[in-house]
Symmetry: C2
Subunit: 236 residues, 2 copies
DNA sequence: GCAAAAGTGTTGTAATTACACCCATGT
DNA sequence: ACATGGGTGTAATTACAACACTTTTGC
């Protein structure tokens, strides 16, 4: 088992991105119980690492602690190591409370950013430590602690690039059954372009990992759209 | 000015990649003066960071210290944070000597990997601390300290991907004047594919950033090849 | 029947592939 | 003259871009 000694110099932060049908959202947490100055601060799920904990493990742990989410396939995308990352005094207060370390021991923290794409309807099951997690559109984020706003925009930048090389990434953002329009709007949003509707239907017909279903939408006041599902291709 | 206090938990390591006309090489250093157990160990240029030093600054500093290279445009590519990175006892001895910190203070180090592409003919000007730097083919690396072998292969993986999105990266690997064949062999090596010679000539004719010169090879015992140069495109 | 979104074909252009022989130079 | 690598054209295929009307459904 691991000792619970905190490494006061290295942290991980998780940028979970979801799609609400219109825009990308990020999962933001805040300490809900008003227990001092640090309550109410919006942050990314993140924490210092323990001494004998792998970075990847730390990212999984903190995500579970703060949101209840498990088995999220996060990938590292960047380290943030500006010497002046902890400029706001309130941030130091938060570190003290959360980690039970003396503020004076916190000199400087390098954080490793992790990110993943997630269906926005995934339930945050059990929340420990009085945290509540919520999805917030990335263009309307409130003030965030530390340099978390920069971290979010770097994550989005990374995702945009990776999605170009591997379009199948985006399917993590959609429900199991989705319509052609949902997929198209998602791609338009992530890539920041407009896609021709007719050409798009042709294109998905050639994608082996997008399979049409017989099922259709129900109860909509217009023509019902066909559902599709994503079939993960065999990895070579 | 910066204080010279070492942060004993965070380091940077630099993977400089060059091309010798046949294969990718990495720049490896080793302590040349035999001053104990740690001499003779091959490593990447890297070091712990100072307390009030940005990561990017640290990468530049250590590269200069160990190879004399300055103004190398490195980019961060990954953090390495396995809890067991420092498994070899000899590695601890090295840290002690280089940083003048007590070995017992080194519990666990997270390192941030930086990488860059470099012309292999760049001279390593002044070498401090008794280090000698040399290019070594990435497929014939000797045993390296820590997990530096993993770090090299992750860097190569990253470069392969980035070169797909931005082919102009590769020109950093070539001399100012290069032949079509040199460029083709480089691309074949990095991408791991074969490229049709005739189609390749057509393709470079359409690349605005590859400009043909009048100058030709000299003193070769076959038809002289035309030289080209790389003209960096205006960044938008 | 009308509002609202889904779905459907054709054509022109650009990019990519496949393929085999002659050219210039040094020895 | 011969060995060595440099350089060239054409045709077929495929991928991509532009563009407007008809269909289904709920109200």
């Amino acid at each position: 088992m691991m000792t619970m000694t905190v490494n006061p110099y290295v942290s991980v932060d998780c940028v979970l991105l979801g799609f609400d049908g219109t825009q990308l959202n990020a999962l933001i947490v805040r300490q809900s119980e008003t227990m001092g100055d640090s309550a109410g601060i919006y942050k990314l799920p993140g924490s210092l690492i323990y001494m004998d904990e792998d970075l990847d493990e730390a990212a999984q742990r903190v995500l579970k602690q703060m949101t209840g989410l498990v088995q999220v396939n996060m990938m590292q995308f960047k380290a943030f190591g500006g010497a002046d990352r902890l400029k706001n005094p309130a941030d130091g207060v938060w570190l003290e409370r959360f980690h039970h370390v003396d503020n004076s021991h916190i000199e400087r923290i390098v954080t490793i950013g992790y990110t993943s794409l997630l269906r926005i309807d995934r339930r945050m099951e059990k929340l420990q430590g009085g945290y509540e997690a919520q999805w917030m559109p990335i263009n309307e984020l409130p003030e965030l602690a530390f340099d978390h706003r920069d971290i979010v925009s770097e994550a989005v930048k990374t995702i945009r690039q990776r999605a170009l090389l591997d379009p199948t990434l985006l399917f993590n953002l959609l429900p199991r059954k989705f319509t052609a329009t949902q997929l198209r709007v998602l791609m338009e949003t992530v890539q920041g372009v407009r896609i021709d509707v007719k050409n798009f239907h042709k294109k998905i017909a050639t994608m082996p990992y997008v399979v049409p279903l017989e099922e259709k939408e129900d109860g909509v006041n217009h023509r019902a759209a066909r559902y599709y599902k994503f079939k993960r291709p065999r990895k070579k």
